[in-house]
Amino acid sequence: MTSDDDYAPPQQRLAMPELMIGLGLLACAAVTLWQTLAIPVSPMYSKVGPTVFPYMTTAGLAVLALLLIVAAARGGWQPEEEKETPTDWKAMGFVVAGLVANAALIQPLGFTAASVVMFVLVCFGFGSRHPLRDALIALVLALAAYFGFARALGVNIGAGYIENTLNVVVDAVLGLRN
């Protein structure tokens, strides 16, 4: 009912994107093999040592990668709908830029500032053209998330200048200075 493995399209062309996926998985199998060989095995555990499952996983990944490559050679498996929708590279670019900015800024500037930058970039990528309004929303959301998680749940998420200043204010208001 739901299996489309052997779905054979009329023209049996090699599907490049699917081939790349198959090769990517094969590369993944190669990486697991390389890392498995790097596991030192002491003779004490040679019977069922720490490498048995890694070898099984490597073998499984390799076989599956080959099956995917075969499927790609037979025309691939992408549904027509996916193929026909062009990828919006610009939107994706802005989202990726937002993610990279977040990872780069979170240590020097703290969670809130990094989140605001990411939020504005992602919104812009999705088509919003009000960066100032988005920045304001982001500030409120990030501070709510920060205080919700950091103070209520005790999760330490990167504090920068904004958080430290506000922490002092909040502690003063609550009389919690310690």
């Binding site: 739901t2 299996s3 493995d5 052997d6 994107p17 990517g24 993944c28 697991t32 890392q35 596991i39 555990y45 019977k47 069922v48 040592g49 720490p50 499952f53 890694p54 996983t57 499984g60 990944l61 599956l64 995917l68 499927a71 549904p79 996916e82 929708t85 062009p86 919006d88 590279w89 994706m92 802005f94 937002g98 993610l99 977040n102 990872a103 979170i106 240590q107 969670f111 990094a114 989140s115 990411m118 939020f119 504005v120 992602v122 919104c123 990528g125 999705f126 088509g127 919003s128 988005d134 982001a138 959301l141 990030a142 998330a145 998680f149 749940l153 005790g154 999760v155 330490n156 998420i157």
Partner: protein, 507 residues
């Protein structure tokens, strides 16, 4: 009766004011994230895992269970009004529900979905109550070999049988195995797959994987497809009260849906997709109003699948609580919450953690009642949530993704890992790989490995132990049959269609 006494004890746990509050918070949050496209219960519970360091196990599992059930209720609202199924289990609800909404009967569709969810959720929870102790009595006889074989069967069912392609499903599962093995091997203390990075010695947190695949991957995917058609919210029209005729058409569908959904959910295969499709097919066949299917929307086509969905969601808890066998991404993350408390789910859970398990089950009954109240009179509130514009919604999801991942160890490496997994999640979504097997493989893979090595150690390294134990052999043969039978069947079908002479004895 023993079960009833335990359940009464469970209600005593669940009815304490704090636990009732957790249940209310969980159901409200669950409904909200069920309504919002792009957020699901697996992601939400993953983000809330740090709560396990702060509160008692009872409280956090009552919260998680509320989220789990709430998301099922909320998901139907989105399917009916937006025609964008939030998750695979509500695809069928969108088929008829959205058509009903377009022909002005959205209120009745929402009502039959919510009440049907309540009826089926209650039947399903009753099923968990009485089936769990029975399964435990069987499971106590399981040795490591049987457990390993059961897990193999479960792996095959979850990844190869229930998805659109067994090769892609198994690829996801093996990727999960790989992620699950990163870190120090518990038995020997050897680091594995760490690439020499000390940050990876502790392994990759399931939070990072779930958030990367579900939040970052999903956001990238939605961004990449902005050229695709935009869905419109159908304004909520029509009374929320069902007419006598609509009740008459709904109640049988609810019961049938529940009876289809629960057993399939309770199998160590799980999956809410199959029962909803089965229920839809059954209702379409039995309905006296076939002309409404696919045109103006048939109420049976909403009532049955919604009931099946919720009953199977309850059923998934049976293998989870009795065998420690998660069969959905959400259940796998809940299992990791057990591990974070140092509790190993398995047949002993019902006796050693009686308060926790029975409190959890009792809270499910309470959650069902709360959810009907939250979802019917307050429906207007949830509809408003649907109006959050996509840019701010997805940007907000990424902010919370950062909170959940960066909070683990305040290391930007975690964020880099998160984004790599997000990229993988994007590719998986784009090329139709299921993501749930990654999470299941990651959580269950190491447990399967432990059982495998235990069985081998007991048998003195004899590989045949898995084939000489009758129960273990049966489970492995079932797994093989599940993997191979559909293919053989398809080959036979193709032969028949091509009109070639059937080959005798070829089965």
């Amino acid at each position: 009766m023993d079960t009833l006494a335990s359940l009464a004890n469970g209600f005593a746990v669940a009815f304490t004011p704090t636990n009732l509050l957790w249940c209310l918070v969980g159901t409200t949050l669950g409904t909200a994230i069920g309504v919002l496209p792009g957020l699901g219960p697996a992601l939400t519970i993953a983000l809330l895992l740090p709560i396990t360091y702060q509160v008692a196990p009872e409280a956090s599992f009552i919260l998680f269970a509320g989220i789990y059930y709430g998301a099922m209720y909320g998901g139907s609202t989105t399917s009916i009004l937006l025609n964008t199924p939030g998750e695979s289990a509500t695809i069928v609800t969108a088929l008829e529900g959205n058509r009903m909404a377009r022909s002005g009967r959205g209120g009745a569709a929402l009502a039959t979905a919510a009440i049907g969810s309540f009826v089926a959720g209650t039947i399903g929870t009753l099923g968990v109550t009485f089936l769990a102790p029975v399964v435990v009595s069987f499971a106590l006889a399981f040795g490591p070999a049987e457990y390993f074989s059961l897990m193999v069967l479960s792996f095959v069912m979850v990844s190869a049988v229930l998805g659109s392609s067994s090769v892609r499903g198994l690829s996801s599962l093996f990727l999960g195995f790989f992620l699950g093995m990163i870190g120090v091997d518990i038995q020997t203390g050897q680091p594995r797959f760490t690439f020499g990075l000390t940050e990876l010695l502790d392994g990759v947190s399931v939070v990072i994987v779930a958030v990367g695949l579900f939040a970052v991957g999903e956001t990238l995917y939605v961004a990449s497809r902005r050229y695709a058609g935009r869905d419109e919210i159908v304004p909520l029209k029509g009374s929320l009260y069902m007419t006598a005729q609509e009740w008459a058409r709904s109640w049988k569908a609810w019961l049938r849906g529940a009876l289809i959904g629960f057993p399939i959910g309770a199998l160590p295969a799980g999956g809410a997709e199959i029962p909803t499709f089965l229920s839809y097919a059954a209702e379409k066949k039995l309905s006296k109003h076939k002309e409404e299917f696919g045109t103006t929307g048939a109420i049976e086509g909403v009532a049955g699948p919604e009931a099946a969905n919720n009953a199977s969601a309850a059923g998934v808890l049976v293998p989870m609580l009795t065998l420690g066998l998660p069969t959905s991404a959400t259940a796998a993350i809940m299992l990791s919450a057990f591990q974070s408390y140092g509790i190993q789910p398995g047949p002993l859970l019902l006796t050693t953690q009686a308060n926790l398990v029975w409190g959890l089950i009792a809270s499910l009954f309470i959650a069902n009642v709360l959810l009907v109240v939250l979802n019917l009179p307050l429906i207007g509130l949830w509809v408003r949530l649907l109006k959050i514009p996509a840019p701010q919604l997805y940007a907000g999801i990424l902010v919370f993704a950062t909170v959940g991942s960066y909070g683990i160890s305040q290391s930007p490496i975690d964020l880099v890992l998160l984004y790599i997994l997000g990229g993988i999640g994007f590719l998986m979504r784009r090329f139709d790989f299921p993501t749930a097997p990654v999470i299941i493989g990651m959580i269950l893979g190491p447990l399967a490995e432990a059982q495998f090595r235990r069985a081998m150690t007991i048998a003195n390294g004899d590989w045949t132990v898995f084939f000489t134990h009758p129960l273990s052999l049966t489970l492995l043969l079932l797994a093989l049959a599940a993997l191979v039978a559909p293919r053989i069947w398809k080959v036979i079908e193709q032969r028949r269609l091509r009109g070639q002479e059937p080959i005798p004895g070829d089965a």
